[in-house]
Assembly symmetry: C2
Homo-oligomer: 215 residues x 2
């Protein structure tokens, strides 16, 4: 059985989106800056149907992470349009277009039952209404021996962490202080979680920190 | 002229002390865990009048940082007893004892004028009442060509950062999620600060991240 991982880009001050996210600007004010390290990478561009791009330590790490992942879990808002506090029903068909970058089964945590949607390139969206554990079971079955990745948002990742189900954190620390916005770790309560550092790589654009969750 | 640096240990979720800090327990609930990486190091123990301890990549880094620092700046609460929200006048003589670990001139930002206190081992505490810039000027003069280090607390570091005076951040990321407590970056407002990563080292006990503040 593969691991349950969570991979995310945050600013050094702990934000995964800037202040005031909206449906039009789901990463909030200044939030695109977080992901600058990834936009120019060949592996990212290829997944988004774009030519060219750079191949370096960052893109290798990204490719490795995509290769070991067999299924993805996400919250309803991430499916329908970002991390903001807007209506749950915005973009009922998702905002990922006809050829989403996942290219694997994606399981969406939601309260609204609906049929699985199949997209181009191997991506499917399956909607799970009975909670994080059944969603994980379905994702594990789909991933076979590979890892299952929690894609976000922060609250979904926090739920898996609190439930003791997360095995690994991979945090890409963007070299900036956003000064405000959506916090990655904001709702953990007071339970302390021990981690074990399993790798730190700094490139000019970003610092990759990998941790195992000690259980 | 040396640089103005800020060096601090934070949890991966951004806390520099646990929840509910008190005068008796200034690091809050579970906060001592943050500094576990440092307690056993020879260079730390020597500064605190203790024998033995380990020599490794962490202690080398600590020694290097102490060697290039010629003066320290701190807030009134850090002088008198930690980061908590207690009375400003607690421990008027400081809680650092007769032989404080700084061994250099320390400048304390306060609203209460008083005479400079000289301690053993080369540490002196000078009280500055006219703000962060005059305090920095005095510290720079005392440091000569060496760096000036902001020792904390978080609010003092944030003031220097906001004023555009901080040159370097060295964050020791402890491998744990505290889940609550005193945030390092909590009051920056919305102004975005660009950083440049200048080093990342992971030891079994801690991850050291160094950044230059881009001005």
């Amino acid at each position: 059985m593969g691991k349950l991982t969570f991979e995310v880009t945050m600013s050094l001050d702990g934000f995964i989106a800037g202040p005031n996210p909206t449906l039009e600007k789901p990463l909030g004010e200044g939030g695109e800056r977080l992901h600058e390290w990834i936009y120019g990478l060949a592996s990212f561009r290829e997944r988004h149907g774009l030519d060219g791009g750079e191949t370096n330590a960052d893109s290798e790490l990204l490719e490795e992470s995509m290769a070991r992942t067999g299924a993805t879990l996400m919250g309803r808002r991430m499916f329908s349009g970002g991390a903001g506090p807007w209506e749950d029903d915005a973009n009922v068909d998702g905002w990922w277009g006809d050829d989403p970058p996942f290219r694997m089964p994606v399981f969406v945590l939601t309260h609204h039952a609906r049929e699985t949607v199949s997209k181009q390139g191997g991506t499917s969206f399956t909607f799970v209404t009975d909670g994080i554990e059944p969603a994980l079971e379905q994702a594990r079955a789909a991933a076979e021996e590979k890892d299952v990745a929690v894609a976000g948002g922060a609250s979904v990742a926090q739920q898996y962490l609190k439930a003791g189900l997360l095995d690994e954190l991979q945090i890409h620390v963007a070299p900036l202080l956003l000064g405000g916005g959506v916090r990655l770790f904001d709702d953990l309560g007071t339970k302390q979680v021990e981690l074990e550092g399993t790798g730190a790589i700094q490139s000019p654009a970003v610092t990759h920190l990998r941790y195992r969750v000690v259980k």
